[in-house]
Symmetry: C2
Subunit: 230 residues, 2 copies
């Protein structure tokens, strides 16, 4: 799947979050990383052609005053035409949004007081206008305070957000992880590391088999129930 | 009441709507008309001082892709500090928003599909952050298609939005209208026009007296009811 990431941070080089996401995305294929800050003036036709060429379009930005930074808004205002000739129908449209509040503050009565469904609704209206399929937003909460382990999880979740079809299932995430692990094992020349990675892979594969058996069992129980008229 | 109108249209001189609003506001006192398009670079301290000095702050803009134009967003991003030292508490905060869809399309299942409460929620969150009192938005629907009569109504409603306290009552609007009419009569030198304006004024004043009597009557009925224990 060809995926375009439009980075709306006005100074991505100064942002630890954006640098982290850039590194995470650079390990994947079929990703176009497009920093708007690098362009003093948008070449409208180039931008439009770039959009037409993708299957998944991601707007990635920090929340400034509860919406997109001016730079990203300028790109939207300049590049997207209102005319119906410009066809993005059926493409997937995702948002990667980072913010410095706790996610729990985005609700009634809390500090921010408004939900992401409300604050990001202009983007939902945009997706509706162009008949694009809106993906669930990928939310990055207080990156600066995240531990090393939280960041490792973030890296995997972000890569999965970029690569996997939506909606994601646990089985899909596990298969994706096994595939990445296999790639890593093949590339590694350190035989002890290879051995350890193989152990992890074996464990994940066993979990996967067990999960499949449990799923089948639940399915069988349900069928028995429905045969018994319950 | 000192009122600041921050005009976020990128080319207000080319906008029939903005020109109309500018003329309407120019007939009032205590209004500062502030076009952001006139400033290539914002002088942050001047902008902040200007804000501090007002009782009512209005952001006025056309809806571009369901939110504010990039120019206004840049002003917000550049001028408003996150630090708590900047105090706008208790000021009134209003939005004047023009758009080319019908207002009825801003709801579930309709063409836009999202409400103004949703789309403008980033501004509500901003008001909450600075502890400003959010006014109901002043919405201008399809100005280009409005008749002469609709525009006359718009002019009065806009002036009332700028000058009257909120929430507005009908009695307040009527008093406001009488006051404006008196001013007009005093200024006019055409005696036949003066005579006609006086007739209108007399009619409005009579309506006002009748309304006051009816209100008093309703009040009395209610008191009777409550004395009878109903």
């Amino acid at each position: 799947m060809k995926t375009l990431i439009i980075v709306g941070h006005p100074q991505p080089g100064n942002s630890e979050t954006q640098e982290f996401l850039k590194t995470s995305a650079s390990l994947l294929k079929n990703i176009t990383w497009h920093e708007l800050a690098a362009e003093p003036v948008f070449k409208i036709n180039d931008e439009r052609n770039l959009l037409m060429d993708q299957q998944r379009i991601i707007l990635q930005f920090p929340l400034y005053w509860y919406s997109a930074p001016a730079l990203l808004k300028k790109w939207l205002d300049d590049v997207l035409p209102e005319s119906t000739g410009f066809n993005l129908r059926g493409k997937e449209f995702g948002l990667v949004v980072s913010f410095s509040h706790a996610a729990s503050e985005f609700q009634l009565g809390e500090r921010v007081g408004y939900s992401f469904a409300e604050l990001l609704s202009p983007f939902a209206a945009l997706a509706k206008h162009f008949q694009m399929q809106l993906l669930p937003p990928f939310l990055i909460e207080r990156f600066a305070y995240q531990t090393q382990l939280q960041r490792q999880h973030l890296l995997l979740a972000y890569q999965q957000f970029l690569e996997l079809p939506q909606p994601q299932s646990f089985a899909m995430q596990e298969s994706w992880f096994l595939q990445k692990l296999t790639g890593l094992i093949d590339q590694t020349e350190d035989s002890r590391l290879q051995q350890r990675l193989n152990l992890i892979k074996q464990q994940v594969a066993e979990n996967q088999t067990e999960l499949a058996e449990l799923t089948q069992m639940v399915h069988d129980f349900r069928e028995d129930d429905s045969l018994n008229g319950k």
